[in-house]
């Protein structure tokens, strides 16, 4: 009996609280409807921006889906592997290009130096060289190696 009474009082209290709360909520709704045009306009602007963001987001999702399905058709593995590979490709191409350029420059320098050496060694020694004291000393000196 006592327990029933307590339960009844608790339920009644809860119902009263809910009724009061809904009355307050109705007043808050009425108050919210009376907002200034400036605020309403800024909310509308925010809503438009949000919708544009949603369209962008959906477009990106579709783009990724198309890329993934293309990779799957080409049989080059899963979408994440393909996307990762595609993003690393430009870097790999850059590094390979730099190595090739460095190699080509080195070869060019070697061939230019070889041409100069060949021209010097193949040419006759001028007479004036034998009268140069420095050159005479160089000829007398023992080879360093």
């Amino acid at each position: 009996m006592n327990h029933d009474d307590r339960s009844y009082r608790a339920a009644a209290r809860e119902a009263m609280e809910a009724r009061f709360a809904r009355s307050v909520a109705a007043c808050l709704t009425a108050s919210a409807e009376q907002m200034s045009p400036d605020v309403a306009e800024r909310l509308r602007f925010g809503r438009e921006k949000a919708l544009a963001a949603a369209r962008r987001s959906r477009g990106e999702v579709r783009g990724v889906a198309v890329t993934s399905s293309g990779a799957a058709i080409a049989g080059v593995g899963g979408p994440s592997w393909w996307v990762r590979f595609a993003s690393v490709m430009p870097l790999l191409a850059l590094v390979a290009g730099l190595v090739l350029i460095q190699n080509w420059q080195s070869r060019t320098q070697i061939s230019v130096a070889a041409e100069i050496d060949e021209a010097l060694l193949g040419d006759d020694l001028p007479i004036s060289a034998y009268r140069d004291p420095g050159f005479s000393e160089f000829l007398k000196a023992p080879p360093s190696e």
């Binding site: 009724r19 009355s23 307050v24 007043c27 808050l28 919210a32 909310l43 925010g46 919708l51």
Partner: protein, 187 residues
């Protein structure tokens, strides 16, 4: 996936209440507008592919997070903590809500008036008292009774237990009833 129209209609239906909720929390109209706009954009960017039925709960969660972010940015964490401690001590008196609630009976109104000026004053008073509630109590109260989420959804949105939601709501109702009665807003 929610269509553009569904998303637009949903945002239109919640934006005013969301702005008011943010105003109650941060007490700054412009900051509240920024928070609501940020919430709408975050929802649209991250959850545009979700079904329309999931949007209300997600929106409330993001709004709560955006409001907390604002407080963090403003470095007023101490103020929030103070509000939480107010909640700890609130609602421990022997005020009998039944007495007030039974007196209220129908829609809230002032003792003397039915004209529009007094109605506007009543609405202002109620808003002010709602704004004065401790943060967690106010959030629970507004989600449960204004946004009409059920207890489980409110708990999920606030990141707390269902029991805590019931306690917050009950204390908020008691505090509001007491404050409004003190202001003469009864039948």
């Amino acid at each position: 996936m929610a269509t553009d129209k569904e998303l637009s209609d949903f945002l239109k239906s919640v934006e005013k209440r969301a702005w008011k909720r943010a105003v109650y929390a941060v007490r700054d109209d412009d900051a509240a507008l920024d928070i609501v706009q940020d919430t709408m954009i975050r929802l649209s960017e991250k959850y545009a592919d979700r079904p329309a039925a999931e949007l209300p709960l997600l929106f409330q969660r993001i709004l709560s997070n955006a409001t907390m972010d604002w407080f963090r940015r403003q470095k007023v964490k101490n103020q929030v903590v103070r509000n939480f401690s107010e909640y700890e001590t609130a609602g421990e008196d022997d005020f009998d809500i039944l007495e007030t609630l039974e007196a209220l009976g129908g829609p809230l109104q002032s003792e003397s008036a039915a004209d529009s000026v007094s109605r506007a004053q009543i609405l202002q008073t109620i808003e002010a008292e709602v704004a004065l509630l401790p943060a967690r109590q106010r959030e629970a109260f507004l989600l449960r009774y204004w946004e009409e989420l059920d207890v489980a959804e409110t708990a999920a949105s606030m990141g707390c237990s269902e029991g805590s939601v019931k306690t917050h709501c009950s204390r908020a109702v008691h505090a509001l009833a007491k404050a409004l009665k003190a202001k003469g807003i009864t039948t």
